[in-house]
Symmetry: none
Subunit: 217 residues, 4 copies
């Protein structure tokens, strides 16, 4: 009996996630009211406050939810189509998967926008879940190992690529600036390859001058 109640609660929480997601995407966060959310979810106003502190709380939890969903989708995509024979191809295919998703759902892109950011994403998850429990990261690390990629900072490499992909997608997909994504894609691939190469060059050493430049600007 107790179990039924818990199930019921989870169901309501998910209904709120679902309805707010739709509304945020279609009308934006600012123009979505709690009234709208609960109405769409088929719940009473007060019920909202049993599950979330306020709209901001809901949003933050939703971003985490959606973002990890997206990464998991990418992960699934990869294991369902294990067609690659080198690391570079794998990385490019993941990037292309993100771009495909963004192109088919520009609202999603706008919503998670700069929230595809490592900051929010890792921050949000890190409290509850160790990295190893996020399948996408486990998968990434496995690929590194499997293909014997020599990389001192695999996380920074991934971070760099993801930030680049997210950021240029925003501009090229939503605003077609400076060019539409399809036109930009070959150049993006080229940049990604260059970044991969840069992080896996064995002879690399941090150049002290770089840091100096930044400080003395």
């Amino acid at each position: 009996m107790r179990k039924k109640v818990e199930e019921n609660k989870l169901q309501k929480r998910n209904a709120l996630f679902q309805s707010s997601f739709d509304l945020f995407l279609n009308h934006g966060f600012g123009k979505t009211t709690i009234s709208d959310i609960v109405k769409k979810a088929g719940l009473a106003k007060g019920t909202f406050y049993l599950y979330f502190k306020d709209k901001y709380d809901l949003r933050d939890k939703l971003i985490t939810h959606i973002t990890s969903q997206l990464f998991e989708d990418a992960h699934q995509e990869m294991i369902e189509n294990p067609q690659d024979d080198d690391f570079e191809s794998t990385v490019l295919r993941v990037c292309d998967y993100f771009i495909k998703r963004f192109e088919s759902d520009p609202k999603l892109l706008r919503f998670i926008s700069k929230n595809l950011s490592w900051g929010i994403f890792k921050n949000a998850l890190s409290t509850d879940v160790p990295d190893e429990d996020i399948p996408f990261f486990r998968y990434y690390n496995e690929q590194i190992r499997q293909f014997s990629v020599h990389c001192e900072q695999p996380e920074l490499m991934l971070f760099t690529i993801i930030e680049l992909v997210g950021s240029v997608s925003y501009s090229c997909i939503l605003y077609k600036q400076p060019v539409p994504m399809q036109d930009y894609l070959p150049y993006l691939h080229r940049s990604i390859r260059a970044i991969l190469a840069a992080y896996t060059e064995t002879e690399y050493e941090a150049t002290p001058q770089s840091a100096k430049n930044a400080k003395e600007g």
Copy 2:
């Protein structure tokens, strides 16, 4: 007499820009009211509507204003310290300038955030001002020429680098994720150099497969 009136108007407009800038930075756009803005500017509420349609109109114009200011500052910095002897150094120095500004003013970073995006930026300016009139771009193109850089898509190259810098700054400076900016900087420099190299490799050809991957995902 006519002139005095015009000056007066400009002064009010700037007062509104200034006060809203401060308020947006410190309290965020959503929490800043028109009341706040006019009070800080020392004007009456009704006056606001003589200069801007609404808060959104003000914001859009302000972003343009601030962003071009930032680019101009970078430009000034460059011509005042013409110390570089190659193109790569020049580009890195510009990037470092942006990062320095962001580090000394994280609120500014948060505000323009993904507005350092080409989309908003170029879009906003393009209506009034042709590229050639933006000194920063003129400077950039001059540098390309001066250092005889072979690059088929100089604008895409710049776009790529700026998006990367803006995006990783957001994460590394505001959230120190995955690492603080000072730790990330050497790797960022490496990535930028790699991108520069990728765009200036003469033998490059767009790989049709890349586009294919993205489409078939």
Copy 3:
């Protein structure tokens, strides 16, 4: 023209006072909403907040307003009917005036209730207005002088009597406990006379034992 605006504002403020007074009396403070108040005053909801911070602010200002009104009414009553030939009669007549008002308007009594308290009353007025500017007190002091009353602590004497009258009125008028006011009145008069006598006995000295009792209880 400017004057007209000010008049208009005062009018609105008074309308809010009036309507809230009626509603507080008839439905109680807790059950009166701001909606009710502005509706009765014929104003818009937002207008309320131009004049008062919230319902509590309105109440505090209203209590001061009403209480001083009541004292002024008593004062007027006295000067319009200057029939007394000694101080005691004057004091009793003032007390009787308060009681008459309370009996004819029990809601008023309940509202100012223990707010006829010196604390709230003096506190509220003292910031803006020195004692001498409250006609009732000036009148009281004049009577003291005129009838050559020998009293070291005229203010404490007045305080004692007013507290007693307010407090017993509450019980005898609103609850008819322990007896209705008309039955209690002769005894109240007797007590008041006794207090007057106690404060004007010239031979009096503070008894150290009294304070000792209270401390050692």
Copy 4:
């Protein structure tokens, strides 16, 4: 078994009394919610309604509870320290006891405030309990008898004194107006003595004029 259930119920009722008392004192009646009360009492929300009709019902029963407790405490104090040799001293000592309690617990004073009023107090008790069952009153009447006090209206005398003490305590202790209680105390004692004398003067007659004044005011 039946007994255990009854004990359990009493325990819950008392828990609700205790937690609501604390909350009313510290946050006021209006700002205390039923949620707060049950949480502090460690009970479920629905349980509240098994014991009280609503918050008002709880408050009324609590006031009675607290007030009679206070009187009983005074009573205990008196019989534990039977040091007085006349009636006046006994009365003053009771008053001083109340004041001492109020000074050590101003929140208590504020809470029962004008609820030390005969109205609420007698009213509340009278339904269930005849006067004779309230030990304090029995004690009072015994003292009257024991010291052979000649007083036609001992209850009105007590009422008068208690109202005066409660009312001036409110002002002098909570607001230190017009003077702090310690400064006022000698004068309060003087007034109480005067009232005692007024009620026990054998030659007294009600003055018909007094009532007349009040009516014709």
